[in-house]
Symmetry: C2
Subunit: 91 residues, 2 copies
Amino acid sequence: MNETFKALADPTRRQIIALLKERDMTAGDIAEHFNISKPSISHHLNLLKQANIILDQRQGQFIYYSLNATVFQELISWFMQLGNFGGKEGD
Amino acid sequence: MNETFKALADPTRRQIIALLKERDMTAGDIAEHFNISKPSISHHLNLLKQANIILDQRQGQFIYYSLNATVFQELISWFMQLGNFGGKEGD
DNA sequence: TATATATTTAGATAATTGACTAAATATATA
DNA sequence: TATATATTTAGTCAATTATCTAAATATATA
């Protein structure tokens, strides 16, 4: 869980997540949306992968990245249990 | 939003959140649950406060900290829109 | 006022992190 | 095999962060 939160604690990585929400993309496609070097993007992708937030799948020369919805479900659960959201209001 | 995610990206701070989920506590009460110095705890509390995750309220010599549920609602929304969770399964 | 308790602020330091360039690896194709 | 493209790995460096001790501030009370 710590890896996951740390992975989310960076604006570039959250932007990558936002991009992957729209469609699966290659590392190169993703890199083109930023002003930072490809190795740096690769590093961010790696952290997101370690955190289980994204999945990768090689297709020939390309590696396609996609979101792993499962992790977001878990995160939502984590937040839900904090606030007793949506539950019974009885004290 | 970045401040919020960064505040969550630390195990000590998430443990503080877990403690405050149970009941409001003074800075000293919180510090007793950890093996780190009070100034360090104070620093973590400050980051959580900046991130709007906790609220503080002085009562005499003591400062009581409590969770700010509003922020968690916002975070849940953030995650929800990523995965189209719980929505229409069409497409 | 003087003293005790609760907490924060200041300043220093070691560890972590995000960025870079250069080099390596994997695949496709001539 | 040789070459081109896509991506990662390695190594370095500056900025950020978590921690500490010492000192300052705020409140309560004798």
